[in-house]
Amino acid sequence: MATWTAEVFENEYLAADATDVHAIVSVGCTGAGAAGQSGDAAEVIIVDTSGSMSQPHAKIAAVRKAAAEAVGDIVDGTWFAVVAGNHKAMSAFPPRGGMVRATEITRSQAEEAVRHLEPSGGTAIGSWLRAAIALFGSVEAAQSHAILLTDGRNETEAPGDLHAAVQAATGLFQCDCRGVGADWDVNELRGISSALLGSVDIIAEPEKMAEDFRQMMQASMARGVADAKLRIWAPQGAEVLFVRQVAPAIEDLTSRSTSVSALVREFPTGSWSDESRDYHVAVRVPAKPLGSEQLAARVQLIVAGEVVAQGLVRATWSDDSTLTTRINPAVAHYTGQAELADAIQEGLAAKAAGDDTTATLKLGRAAKLAAETGDEEATNKLKRVVDIADADTGTVRLKRDVSKLDEMALDTSSTKTTRVKR
């Protein structure tokens, strides 16, 4: 059985008339076990086999190897299938479609099948997702996960088709998305992975694909808790301003809630392995007289309808400014990291649109925030796109002749956060 913990980091002291309570709730899970222990697990590997995958040939060669290695890591008993996607989705394995349970035999059959993937045709990612929906719908799994790899934009179907497919898939399965090369659209894949509670990343060099696929599959196979929900209670008259996952990556959950009761909302978090995730919860409560104390939020993790962990977010109104002016370090850190992600994405969007002034301003702000929050990875990736003249003031110059891959790497990693130092 998994063991859960919830820790709350906040400054509960509010000055007179203050109303906004910010807290970081760190949820930890240990003893999660392996996927499939609380009902069947299902895996679909979706690889792009459009014509562009042969340019260069290394891409399709990498896909064949990566798909085979990922299949090799699927644990016995897991339902699985491999989908070859171009302008339509085809079953690469099993040959007659549907899903099969992983055994030594089916895995080796699948490994053989993916060696014969041949690139041709266009790219219609929505059709791939619809194929995955149908596959997951054909088995009764407690947890469903897909890996999706593409090298291009969603060109051979209307944007609305992809959007509708993502909506249809939301809540049915989780999906980690990867782009290989520089011709895919970060925002397009991030839209898919974000809605489907997965990660997005760039595979700049095809030879690194196999290792990345193995990591994704092993991570998925380690998620022994099939599904958990974040449940938030806020008092009558209060408003939940936002609920945001802030570690390991930023994901705004605010708009994804379902109402449990008038005061209680639930947010999907998908499946869990042995890991910890941090959530930033902001609640606006009506101001109370000095000295008053009140619970601003109960933050709970729900597994199979049971509360497995709870953190209490409190508010105490005080006239002691040494208490009320203090900003909790965890709240400050993750507020900075969220702002950093926004600054990077907005700066790169402005740069792409040719608005160098805004791009310089935003990326300068990002350089400052990355330095302040000690985010060395972000600083290093920023340095490939801008020359940082002075991180303290956020003074940067846009580099000329920036590699598209470097920009995409900065973009995809913008939502990954560093942990607060404790």
């Binding site: 820790e7 008092p235 009558q236 104390e293 009140q294 619970l295 601003a296 209490l312």
Partner: protein
């Protein structure tokens, strides 16, 4: 402030309790429930991670929750059992202690309770205004041949002292109710008998406080409490104590006597010649030198007795009351002033004393146990 447990004598100055957060190591106040740096809960073991209720949580709740329903103790005067707790807004108080509708902290049954086993004896135990929990405890009883008043004050700087204090008070009260009475005998023989019984009751309290520590499983800073028990047998009053909770005698003839002598830094100073005012104003005044609990320094309780020639009041109380009115004659005047409007009804008078202490600031938990005494045989209520 509540008493802080200290090592007696030479190292008293080290009594100032330095506590650090077990999670982040930052310093925290002895009375803090939460670490201000990392937010870790510092108080009750059961409340720490609502995530995983400890196996002892149920027992802890049981120990924390008045009332008793023992026949000889009679029913408490305020309803404290049964249905789920309600907030002032009408919402339900969750097991985590907070209202599920408005988010206010729910008042616990433990925060304020009263006992009145007979018309001549009553007690009120109250959280006061500043402490997050009520770590005071009281248990009173009356039978045909004796009246028992027991008060304990949980040491704030220790974990779960509220549990230990209540367990100790009840154990001692039960022991004194169950003790055989001296069939006959001279006053001195009777006093000798009650001294032995009070010593045994103190041991029962010590055992209960130690058991409470075992149940809550806190080893670093085990729960501890003060102890004072008064037994009234006709014209005799016998008092045993450990720590600085007090017993007073206020005769209707104007006599005002503090029967107990605090086991505290201040009384040690007074014994060495310091004035009461100076000694009690010292920051170390409330540091107690003896207490009950796992780390109790041990020894028999202090003991005293008195023969009462006139009717009057026996008052047993914690420092939440006497700290605002320490001198015996001041406290006598206060008691008479509070008793007059309610015609000396013990429960109303005890409640008035507690209300008065809250009006002075309510900085600590407050307990007042009162009995009319010094009359030939206390009448039993119907």
């Amino acid at each position: 402030m509540s008493p802080e447990a200290v090592v007696p004598e030479a190292v008293v100055h080290e009594a100032v309790v330095h506590v650090v957060c077990p999670k982040c190591g930052d310093p925290v106040g002895a009375a803090d429930q939460f670490c201000e740096s990392c937010g870790a809960e510092l108080g009750a073991a059961g409340a720490a991670d609502a995530a995983t209720p400890s196996p002892d949580a149920e027992l802890g709740t049981q120990l924390r929750a008045p009332p008793r329903s023992q026949v000889e103790q009679s029913a408490p005067t305020e309803s404290m059992g049964g249905e789920g707790l309600r907030c002032t807004c009408g919402g339900v108080i969750d097991a985590d202690g907070w209202c599920t509708t408005c988010g206010l902290r729910g008042a616990s049954e433990r925060d304020h309770f009263t006992e009145q086993p007979a018309s001549h004896v009553a007690a009120v135990c109250d959280r006061g205004l500043h402490h997050p929990r009520n770590e005071d405890a009281v248990a009173v009883a009356a039978s045909d041949d004796r009246t028992v008043l027991v008060v304990c004050d949980g040491v704030t700087s220790a974990t779960d002292s509220d549990v230990a204090a209540l367990a100790a008070a009840r154990a001692a009260c039960d022991a004194l109710v169950a003790a055989s009475g001296p069939a006959t005998g001279s006053p001195s023989e009777r006093i000798e008998h009650w001294q032995a019984e009070l010593t045994a009751a103190t041991l029962a309290a010590q055992t209960a406080a130690t058991d409470a520590a075992a149940h809550v499983g806190s080893s670093e800073n085990p729960p501890s409490c003060t102890f004072v028990a008064a037994l009234i047998d006709g014209p005799l009053v016998a008092v045993a104590w450990v720590g600085d909770s007090r017993a007073y005698w206020f005769g209707d003839d104007g006599t005002a006597t503090q029967l107990s002598v605090d086991d505290s830094w201040a009384s040690g100073e007074i014994a060495h010649g310091a004035t009461r005012e100076v000694a009690e104003a010292d920051p170390r005044a409330h540091a107690i030198t003896r207490w009950l609990g796992v780390d109790s320094p041990g020894g028999d309780p202090s003991f005293t007795s008195a023969t009462l020639s006139v009717p009057g009041w026996v008052l047993v109380c914690t420092d939440g009351l006497w700290n605002y009115c320490s001198g015996a004659s001041d406290l006598r005047d206060l008691l008479h002033a509070q008793a007059a409007p309610v015609h000396g009804e013990p429960l109303a008078t005890a409640a008035a004393l507690v209300d008065w202490a809250n009006a002075q600031g309510g900085h600590d938990n407050i307990t007042a146990a009162l009995a009319r005494a010094g009359v030939a045989s206390p009448t039993r209520s119907s």
